[in-house]
Symmetry: D2
Subunit: 384 residues, 4 copies
Amino acid sequence: MYEPTRDDKFSFGLWTITKKVGLDPFGKPTREPPPPVEVVRKLGDLGVWGINFHDDDLVPAEKASEKERIVREFRQAVNDSGMVVSMVSCDLFSDPLFRDGAFTSADSRVRARAIQKAMRAMDLGKEFDAPLFVMWGGREGTEVNASGKLLDAHAWWREALDYLCAYSEEQGYGYRFALEPKPNEPRGDTFMPTAGAMLGFIATLEHSDLVGVNPEIAHEIMAGLNFPQVLAQVIDAGKLFHVDLNDQRFGRFDQDRRFASENPSTALYTVALLEEHYDGPLQFDSHALRTEDMDGVWDFVRGSMRSYLILRERAAAFADDPEVKQWREAYYVRDGELEGLLAFSRDNSKRLKEYEFDLDMLRERGIGLERIDQIAFEHLAGAR
Amino acid sequence: MYEPTRDDKFSFGLWTITKKVGLDPFGKPTREPPPPVEVVRKLGDLGVWGINFHDDDLVPAEKASEKERIVREFRQAVNDSGMVVSMVSCDLFSDPLFRDGAFTSADSRVRARAIQKAMRAMDLGKEFDAPLFVMWGGREGTEVNASGKLLDAHAWWREALDYLCAYSEEQGYGYRFALEPKPNEPRGDTFMPTAGAMLGFIATLEHSDLVGVNPEIAHEIMAGLNFPQVLAQVIDAGKLFHVDLNDQRFGRFDQDRRFASENPSTALYTVALLEEHYDGPLQFDSHALRTEDMDGVWDFVRGSMRSYLILRERAAAFADDPEVKQWREAYYVRDGELEGLLAFSRDNSKRLKEYEFDLDMLRERGIGLERIDQIAFEHLAGAR
Amino acid sequence: MYEPTRDDKFSFGLWTITKKVGLDPFGKPTREPPPPVEVVRKLGDLGVWGINFHDDDLVPAEKASEKERIVREFRQAVNDSGMVVSMVSCDLFSDPLFRDGAFTSADSRVRARAIQKAMRAMDLGKEFDAPLFVMWGGREGTEVNASGKLLDAHAWWREALDYLCAYSEEQGYGYRFALEPKPNEPRGDTFMPTAGAMLGFIATLEHSDLVGVNPEIAHEIMAGLNFPQVLAQVIDAGKLFHVDLNDQRFGRFDQDRRFASENPSTALYTVALLEEHYDGPLQFDSHALRTEDMDGVWDFVRGSMRSYLILRERAAAFADDPEVKQWREAYYVRDGELEGLLAFSRDNSKRLKEYEFDLDMLRERGIGLERIDQIAFEHLAGAR
Amino acid sequence: MYEPTRDDKFSFGLWTITKKVGLDPFGKPTREPPPPVEVVRKLGDLGVWGINFHDDDLVPAEKASEKERIVREFRQAVNDSGMVVSMVSCDLFSDPLFRDGAFTSADSRVRARAIQKAMRAMDLGKEFDAPLFVMWGGREGTEVNASGKLLDAHAWWREALDYLCAYSEEQGYGYRFALEPKPNEPRGDTFMPTAGAMLGFIATLEHSDLVGVNPEIAHEIMAGLNFPQVLAQVIDAGKLFHVDLNDQRFGRFDQDRRFASENPSTALYTVALLEEHYDGPLQFDSHALRTEDMDGVWDFVRGSMRSYLILRERAAAFADDPEVKQWREAYYVRDGELEGLLAFSRDNSKRLKEYEFDLDMLRERGIGLERIDQIAFEHLAGAR
């Protein structure tokens, strides 16, 4: 039970195993992961469908000369495992070069280097037929508003995205781009800090049709937002191009905890929305606790997928519960006459403006949210 | 010194004096304000330029029959004081009718009633030539994702905005609309919770050109965001239609504190951006502490404007400081050749992709943010 | 199943039904509850064991002259229902008199009035044999550190508590006192804002043995803290005199949501600790959403208790799971020789200082927290 | 102006220069600091009075064999600079050994090793006559309440502190101990997460007189608390043994920003309290931004001290402002008769209980907090 298959389309970032080795600002690494090729094989054995990476995860700068071999062996491992490369990304945050921004650096040389590196990452991704390019602007922000670049930063970032979209089209790569927002960390504040802000930004881009959002549970929680509600806006806008599943406690550093480990209710409604409105990769952008050795890492991988499958079952049972169906029917009140007036016309607006409502009745009827919320809890707890 | 004039375009909401009377979830009102007409006169005496209101602030439901007289007397008071009505709004949150949403209620009768009320508020605003219609969706959210309406809520809200824009156009009102986001309170979570989310939503509207944002310092702080950075995105998008100045501590109920009282640095950079990129009303959407009697309320009004004027002086001195000018010149590094390659063409992208950067030099040069930030603090503290 | 009995010792505050009527800073009341006597009967029917109140909840100022009758009828209703009055409290926050503090007001007349009111509330509680006096200092804080009273406030609050303890002893009331911390709201910041701070404060009191803590889930979450860990410190200090069960999202106004509705994991570990280390009242200090009519209020009451009972079952199953037992045995590593050296003596400390540890082995062994956490999630979800 | 002298007693941790080199969870180090001896000389030149360190900052494990030389040279540099070693600490967080707690590890071997290391650090500190031992329990917490050690953790931590106090006394070291709380990071949650919690814990210790608190601005802000109010409780309890000055935005990773850079008002009231109630070291536990090279680091050091001195001047001017004096006199209302009744006796309590207050008058008088708060802002801004 709760065993994943390729059809579930679960994916992991290579870095979540190979680079998240327990290093933190106050402590040294605690474990040594196997090389990428072995990681892929192990993930494949555990039922994972997709793997993906930043350029440097696969081909670190110091191994640039071995790129061809690395690519070949990694492709082989992916194929052997029956897996796919579900997306590719570009690391524009690790190198000290980008310490004050990559696309939003006030130094045009740094901006140019960032675009160069992104083009090369796109080339690399195409060696694996990756259909999607995910972009997280880890250093695109500031701690010091006195820098005076707040407006320029937005213009520069747009310039970079327009450039990269043009490059993808001109090369015939056909990438779709997914912007990944995060409110802070490693910068004190990141520009365009939430999924909503990214939607606003996309509307200003030249190739806005190619660009969508990669919302991440932990990142929206860091802004104190309600992830399922954020996800609903992204879906409503037709911009859910990818999704990062993990968990987080609000008011803390970026934890990237195991999916559903902190906020099971958030996870439940996230699963419900994804199952109904999305069929892309289900990416776990998270990592095992620093306390763990490699056994703990594989426990974390298994647990992430099991929890999703458990919650998928719970979400389906909730939706099918006859009491829930009945409740929802009562909740959605439809009034034919008034709904007719909601189609705007001069006449309809005039009639609506003069319509006499039974206000007291509308004020007094119970809405019933406590009951439905309790039923949902009981489904979550497997108690119905 | 620091005495406001009409040219400063400071405005207050009527409700910030007449309705914020010290009532809170744990205590009874603590003061009795004078009637609206007297409030206007007093604000005019203190140098305020604009006044504005929700429909019910001026004409409460129980005085509907006296509307004509109320409007006449209020207009007289505004004119006598040499003030203007800078915007109008509609109260879609006080009435229990809207307890589960106004434009996003699952009950189509409630949605229709909300649109009706908004049209009537637009009619009222035009009696004062208000050019702007501000919309805060206080009840447009939920505490219970189990309700199942997350996607519908976005569609319903869009339907309402499209309707009201059409109404304004059809009536020849020529309103511009400013959406005011707030992440939570009074609902557990509000849909489209930040200025960024509103920008994303606006892009999906039929009359998106008529609709902008009314960002509020306190509301973005409630999402832990950096207000000057949020403001910069709104300006970048050409959507800064109005602004609400106040203050707030993160991680708390909506405090609506006196401008600059909690986060003077945030206030400083906000003033700097507004002075350079905005010339609309400077609205104080805040209120005196519950501890205050009416003397304290007027202290609060005076203090709000004084603080803005002090910070305007500080921001100007900072921008004019020769050391700052020199620092900024060094910060913005321009490289002619590379900037040329940043104009996309097949050839330029090819050349950029192969360009050899002096990476180590770029990694090692100091950025100098501590120094500029210290200079800014010293200007804020009046110590330079 | 999951039906509460008197043995479960569930209690509710009268105010959670009668005073929480949907009034909030942005909206009017949404429901009209029945009178106290009927509330008690209904709660009794639902399986509740204890009821409690603030002085004014039972005898509002305007009904002071009817006190004797009210007390008599209420006592009758409690007795008829087979319930008990589990504690009593004093409302020192509603009256505008206390708007700048009760025990910590800078006005000695207000401090005196607060102590007077608390003594009278103690007298009232003894008419019902209440064994415990809970004290929440809703207005004991400030928004304005410039007031200059930060140190005096602590001294005044101590003075008040010493006085009230002395009064209780002198009258032979035998109360135990439980201080209820809350970090903010209605004040911008409350003095002694967390359960930990209250423990620190208690240590400075004259009658510190009589005084303990009433930790509340929502209040500690408002400070971003981990409630089970806070609870553990209170238990460790021997100061868990009462507990308030509810729920809350961090970074928000005081929500007082239904127990387990927001953070089921927090609720699970809370239940586990309480079942093992506490046998006092299980108080639900929470209220139904503003969207609800009285049917929704009773749904909320029922749901609160059902959720506790479900989680009690889950916590027991987790503790009894053989895999968990095995894991815990491995987790607690005992080394006889070293544990011997941990008994301090000159000689032991010398030997410990020179002991040679196998550091690499200790660095490399897996701790296994991901696995145990996943098992716990699966128990919470009823999936094991 | 604003030039520090030794009399100001400013101190820095060695690690804030030598170990905070721009490494973060998403990026590599960005600068290479000079060796400790040079750092001390440079700090001395800049007017710093005290230096301090964790054991490993001065003598890293890999240089254990050179300890004698390192100590000698460092002592020489401190003496040459006319500085002092103001405290010493023990690093119980960097080594992977402590990844699941040091004093609170469930493995008794790890707990023993932690005590061993702390004793050795105490020995090291005495080579410099350090009077104070600061203890931050970076790894004393958990992400996984399922571990089941919540109560044991408190007992183990107490055991360790009792041991170390006994060791200090037995050796004649005469240390005072200052516990430094932090709510989270690097652990998801830390046990005893705030200064208040530490006060509560201290009350349970065997040598509670030897143990106080080292409150840190950033750490209390991470719990959303008001630092001056927290500081006031620590002072009230007589437990302010040391203080860490820096800055932080709420809802973020541990930023350790330059003092006063984020929350100037918090800094102002902190300075005011310290100047009146404390004369120990003024420690800046913070570090330069990752964007900075070593020039930026020294800018940061200079700026930290300058900002304190500017705020000291502002705090004094505020306290001396005649309008402020007058306001405070009005704020502190003294009523001789009532204050008499506040000395508890049977008779006084009886009289107080029956006293007739003029409640309406007390409800209506203005408290005047907006005015005093505005005056404070104007002093902060150097505008009065």
